[in-house]
Symmetry: C2
Subunit: 98 residues, 2 copies
DNA sequence: CTCGGACATCGACAGTCATCAATATCTACG
DNA sequence: CGTAGATATTGATGACTGTCGATGTCCGAG
């Protein structure tokens, strides 16, 4: 029976959840998080789905825009990495645990 | 570096997150969870927002449909309660903890 | 410099969503 | 029964979303 979250908190948390509230993006985050070194190349991510390359790129942009994924370009390839603290914060706020 | 979630898991988790991915619904869940006895009357929830009664009713329906809120009618009033196990499961899957 | 490949951006389209006003449903009370 | 209040449903509307094909941008190889 803790205090309800504030309207501000809700406004900040909602976009993060919205970004995660898609099967493709959930799997993207999950695959990246499970990858060696905690990061994955877009080329590999493309292969993991039956979707067009622009669509995957779009989903990655959504996740990156809300701060869930870090992006680093190395040569011709782009690598994404999960920002685990952000993910953990979301989980904590949802779970309502201390 | 655990295993990525399956496509099936993603398809099941996404609707729950989608239901939570709205500032109003986040606050609804939070207010209900923080209420005495773990449940809240719709009349009180209506007063907590600057939205029309049908809109609140709609949001409650969304949350109830995905199984995040329990619903019980007592007399003229309807009470909603948070299904904490469901919420906890979501948090766990997001956090990626065991 | 030019070419090819990796990734992003653009424009479009169909589908979904949040919100409201109006209306329906249900329940207690007289 | 008939009325009043609490909640749900309906229908409409403007905004947003996931997806694609086409195109743009950037980098390394030759």
């Amino acid at each position: 029976m803790r205090e309800p979250i504030s309207a501000d908190q809700a406004e900040r948390l909602a976009p993060l959840l919205k970004a995660l509230a898609d099967p493709v993006r959930l799997r993207l985050v999950s695959i990246v998080a499970a990858s060696e070194g905690g990061e994955a190349c877009v080329c590999d991510l493309n292969d993991a789905f039956d979707l067009s390359q622009p669509t995957i790129s779009h989903h990655l942009k959504v996740l990156h825009d809300v701060g869930l994924l870090d992006r680093s370009k190395r040569g011709v390839w782009v690598y994404y990495a999960v920002r685990r603290e952000v993910l953990a914060d979301v989980a904590t706020l949802i779970g309502g645990n201390a």
